[in-house]
Symmetry: C2
Subunit: 163 residues, 2 copies
């Protein structure tokens, strides 16, 4: 092989999943001072919908990471982060969950981009309300997982496109 020749390699969604799982364990321990475990996606109760926090990423690979929480779990995690009791969804909860997904995306980048700068991350967008659903382009790959951090459960979705 010629010196300096580029090695063309696509990134598998399961490699990203591994990086994301490492990031989840590391970030949630730091942020919430408790352990997290990956649980079946189906065991997360998202009815009623509550809050979704989304961070996009783009570069050699592009996609987005989103967390989806019920109002109760969003308030519980924000209360834990901020050290104050919050009972209702508001912009403070939205900011806290935006920061959480931002740190998860940053953690995934740290593990996924050790050898190559595969992507850059955007600022988070946060949606909350009592009646909404989220969608991604139909031609993208997707991975869904459930997470349990302390006694709070929520889902995480990774949307992923090579190139």
């Amino acid at each position: 092989m010629k010196a300096g020749a580029a090695i063309e390699k696509t990134v598998d969604i399961h490699e990203m999943e591994d990086c994301l799982e490492k990031a989840i364990r590391e970030i949630t321990t730091t942020m919430f001072d408790c352990d997290s475990e990956i649980i079946p996606f189906e065991s997360v109760d998202l009815i009623p919908p509550g809050l979704s926090a989304i961070v996009g990423f783009g570069g050699k690979i592009s996609g987005n990471i989103s967390v989806h929480l019920s109002p109760e779990n969003a308030c519980a995690l924000a209360s834990n982060m901020l050290g104050m009791k919050i009972n209702e969804m508001d912009d403070i909860v939205a900011d806290a969950m935006g920061e959480m997904v931002n740190m998860l995306a940053g953690g995934m980048k740290k593990y996924a981009c050790r050898h190559e700068d595969l992507f850059r991350i955007s600022v988070p967008s946060i949606v909350y309300g009592s009646d909404y659903s989220t969608h991604s382009p139909k031609d993208s790959e997707r991975l869904l997982m459930g997470i349990k951090t302390g006694s709070s459960t929520y889902s995480l979705q990774l949307i992923f496109a090579n190139g």
Copy 2:
């Protein structure tokens, strides 16, 4: 100045606004075969909320672009794009509006990154429902504009952070 020394320059939100306005005029003419004009943000009727399509970007500058439409305007623009009459919000409308904001972000990148690769864009996220609101981190700059494409009006938000 030393040869090759980097010129540190932050990007102003108004430079991005110029790039985005050029992209809006170009993209909407191509996609919808009609002219677009920038209108006061306040004149766009978003009650009830309908659909929001968001594309993040990250790099030297990061942020996101989002369009927000009432159900009627989302269906009208999707009908125009696809050449078929659509009366209710569904995944087809969501995909069409995701494609629209994706093209707007790509157009903004074309104009903003002529001399330097300032950012990469993510895949779009689309939210729709009858009760939701969207938020961005409180420390980001934001710019709101109204757009009228043919007889449809909608709002566009640019969220922006240097560095």
